[in-house]
Symmetry: C2
Subunit: 215 residues, 2 copies
């Protein structure tokens, strides 16, 4: 693996900002979008459990319907792509077994050899109620969100993370309840409009000494 | 901003894995570590509020003390660096004002011009109790965790996210309670040991069609 240059990484991180206005005419090329979906698929999650589903909303009518459920933010309809990050409404031993079956298949090992791992996962899940499980799974989705936004910037794609939405309205519009998943957060992806004044304001962060400490 | 090649991005994402055994003799060079700390500082957060602190634990005695509080995982002491991600125990209007003061300073605008933004933030925070605020802030920390692991891989640095720890024990060992922050998660950073058998097992994920849906 050849590392990229530090300067290229910093340039991308500094170029990224929460894009408020997208150029509705510019679409993300298929190979770039495929890479971003792979970045979601490859995102790390605790125990490798991947308690998530990523829904790419392409239908313009559906996106128009979602905009009022998203504090009326225009990114929902203007951006090239809208990705909704959803996670399991609950987590069960059956899901652990589904995951272990996949692991055994890919790694070519027996389920018996994964018994200890299974025990650690099920004991961990048994210690939580449904609300705690959903909170835990939601945090995992935010790892995927972080990886998605970082990768988008590196590929020259703008993004806007969107917490300001009605999860219930999204669930209903996307027909999620039957699937056992619930909306956590969304992310608009595309290209900044030349008119987005937020692209020009200086990036503002607390100074490093304010947020990083050494022990 | 020059995008990196898709192949370089995918190579890094596929190279990354949750490193179980680090080479204790290999340290991350200062310029690379500085870039990773900048990646944390530049991580996106809701409202830009950065409700976090990143604690780099360097003292070997402190890391030895933390290992039993981390399911005795050897990464805590073997990895080149251990970063603890902590967030505010609560979120207050005073913190919003601190953030707005920084924003006004960097952007060269008046506080008055940020009044609407202030109202949106304080109304959002007022709608949550302390537990909900902590859960919300914790999710933001997971964005930073995601960005950190992605950037580490791109720079050829191995990482291991660590949820399996006692936040209370970490808080006490790091003297966090007085600062108003609480431990959420940690991340070990360094270089994989040649003996880590997990480096060689095939990366396992559900198939894309299983986790990505189109609407």
């Amino acid at each position: 693996m050849n590392p990229i240059a530090i300067t290229d990484l910093m340039a991308a991180l500094n170029w990224r900002y929460a894009t408020k206005s997208f150029d509705a005419g510019k679409k993300i090329p298929q190979d770039v979008m495929d890479a971003l979906l792979d970045a979601l698929v490859l995102a790390p999650s605790s125990f490798g459990l991947q308690p998530w589903k990523f829904i790419v909303v392409a239908d313009p009518a559906l996106r128009a319907k979602l905009q009022p459920d998203s504090w009326d933010q225009p990114q929902v309809t203007q951006a090239s792509h809208l990705v909704v990050l959803a996670v399991r409404a609950t987590l069960t031993a059956a899901q652990v077994d589904e995951w272990l079956a996949r692991l055994a298949e890919v790694r070519g090992v027996t389920l018996e050899s994964l018994a200890d791992y299974r025990g650690r996962m099920t004991r961990f899940l048994d210690g939580m109620d449904d609300a705690q499980k959903f909170a835990w799974a939601s945090r995992q989705a935010y790892i995927a969100l972080g990886q998605l936004m970082t990768c988008a910037a590196l590929l020259g794609v703008d993004s806007c993370p969107m917490e300001g939405l009605s999860p219930q309205a999204y669930d209903e519009a996307l027909a999620l309840p039957d699937s056992g998943y619930r909306t956590v957060v969304a992310c608009a992806l595309g290209y900044r409009s030349a008119e987005d004044k937020y692209a020009l304001v200086p990036k503002t962060r607390y100074e490093r000494a304010r947020v990083v400490e050494f022990r």
